[in-house]
Symmetry: C2
Subunit: 356 residues, 2 copies
């Protein structure tokens, strides 16, 4: 994965989404403005997609919109999702139709989720140690493909299936990305997380390809952990991890736990990366739209802001990316326990540090 | 689920298994002997099944052995599994062929896993609160069915699938069991954990049946949590849970995290229960065979001993079950930090408390 020459115009598709999505996105954009090099012209196109649009128009992601978005350099997404249990919003309609459709259509096969306990941040773990790992979650296969279906729906004879699809093609490319990342990190350690003792078919592909690619990276130490055992290590010794590579569903689960133990979902950033750069990558906080606290400007925009750092880095602006991260670190270290700032106050503070 | 009249003869199939399995099983049996009412005659049949037998004979679970086991009142299992990565032990051969085969053939559709922070036990969480919940994990469906397969294995064109199978029949019965348990507990709260926004077909059956059964239990409070969100709550506010009902794979993951935060896998007991009593239920510690510490008599047998309490309760011996639990509680409270006892020392101490 090589970084491109940074472009002088950055065309950004912005999908603020629902709930707290627009609130945290506004702060992320503020920080992006402050961080972007003066030589870079920022152009934004805003796309109103999400629960609100669906409820008003029945549209989730029109093909024409997808094609427009495809023309951009990157996508910044807030969060999508309506009120849980809203009968007008069938479960999955937005997740499958919008979020996952973007990930799949734009071939975001590396779902990148760094986990670090930043100085000044409190972990719920009594003794977490120095935690700094990254989860490379596969983004275009596994149980997320939407394969499966149901028979005799709503009757006592219903049968519903979900098919996890795993290809050597899909697994190898994400495993390669993970090894390349592991090699660039000081500890050079890669852990495959799966459930090879039960999901024997899928497990075999993952196992084989990790072994195979490992032989090209003799300086990377490789180990394996069942997903259930990974829970235990994440709760008792998260400092042991460096790079975790795992499938789409296990990655979803592992990264929320990782976010929790590193100080909360308000700090967890993610990149949906297309390393081949055949389509724009998408950057979003790991958290959801949190309808319960929407409209109050109390959400922590830090995860969205850190997602901007991932985006800048992906686009070849390593310096500005580091500036954003440094500003966030400084802001976190300066936070005083109990003092609550509004969403824009946090964004302003971080933007000011970036500019200053 | 009604308890049977306790039998006067208890025919127990004992599967010590591999690694630390035989060591912890010996202590569990010691405590069972001490706890069983004098009027109950204990008869044990030992079955040598597991990695050792497979490596020596190629046999995993001969049909004739399965049929013999079926004739017992209950099964006590230690742990099965050989050295991870042993090329002579294909991944899953024992798990699928022995452990899961027993669960499936004997229709253990309720996989019961209580999680409690016992007095005197240290959680890795700084501030866990009062944790006392039980996970009702479905045991005979979901991604554990072994459905799926692979094409062009070992080539760059490999495609491997895993099919999660979910039936209204299978989901309704475990959901009913979970509601009945919730109603018997003081807080009467049930949380469905799933991933309905991605696994929409399977999610729909679970969601529908929880709603449907809920209408028969107006005094049970019901909520829903995506499995990723459940990770966050287990790490930050585990005290909020009372009864969790979930599918086979999510249950596997959630219960290992639950074990970790309640003081470790050395304390986590489980019952593979056939509530209809058409076949013997099976009781086992959640932990595995831990080949790395096998033969040293250093494993904590408490999880196996607590599994005996679950077994006694299932067999209608509520009093002796409570005695075992009380003895374990007293033992845990008396443990002194840093002092390590051998496996038999722990078993002896608990057995003595039960007898005394
Ligand atoms: C909203 C949902 C579809 C999504 C996922 O499961 O991937 C989210 O949980 C995430 O982790 O980005
Ligand atoms: C050994 C394995 C097949 C098993 C499972 O996945 O159910 C174990 O992890 C458990 O939780 O009992």
């Amino acid at each position: 994965m090589t970084s491109p020459d940074p472009k002088t115009t950055l065309q950004l598709a912005v999908v603020p989404g629902d709930g707290i999505g627009p609130e945290v996105t506004a702060e992320a954009l503020k920080v992006l403005q402050a961080a972007a090099p003066a030589t870079v012209k920022l152009e934004q196109t805003r796309y109103d997609l999400g629960a609100e649009r669906y409820l008003a128009t029945g549209e989730v992601l029109p093909d024409s919109v997808l094609e427009e978005i495809r023309g951009h350099d990157a996508i910044l997404l807030g969060a999508v999702g309506g009120r849980p249990g809203d009968p007008a919003l069938p479960p999955g309609i937005l997740e499958r139709g919008l979020l996952l459709r973007l990930r799949f259509e734009l071939d975001h096969y590396v779902n990148l989720r760094p986990s670090r306990i930043f100085p000044g941040v409190t972990s719920p773990l009594a003794d977490p140690g120095e935690v700094d790992f990254v989860v490379v979650r596969e983004g275009t296969e596994g149980p997320y493909t939407g394969n499966g279906g149901a028979l005799r729906v709503g009757t006592p004879a219903e049968v519903a299936t979900e098919v996890s699809v795993n290809t050597a093609f899909g697994v190898e490319r994400v495993v390669r990305d993970a090894f390349a990342r592991a090699q660039r990190r000081p500890r050079r350690r890669l852990t495959l997380v799966h459930k090879t003792n039960v999901l024997v078919h899928a497990g075999a592909v993952w196992w084989r390809l990790v072994q195979q690619v490992a032989s090209e990276y003799p300086d990377v130490t490789v180990d394996y952990m069942h997903v259930d055992a990974a829970m235990i290590f994440l709760a008792t010794d998260p400092a042991r991890f460096d790079v975790i590579v795992t499938d789409n569903l296990f990655g979803d689960i592992v990264t929320d736990l990782a976010a929790a133990i590193t100080g909360g979902i308000g700090l967890a950033a993610s990149g949906n990366v297309n390393p081949d750069r055949t389509a724009p990558s998408m950057f979003e906080p790991v958290h959801g739209s949190a309808p319960d606290i929407a409209g109050q400007q109390v959400a922590d925009p830090t995860a969205a802001i850190l997602s901007v750092a991932l985006m800048l880095d992906h686009l070849g602006h390593a310096g500005p990316a580091a500036d954003v991260e440094a500003a966030v670190l400084a802001d976190l270290a300066a936070r005083t326990a109990g003092a609550r700032r509004s969403t824009p106050e946090v964004g302003d503070a971080i933007a000011a540090r970036v500019a200053g």
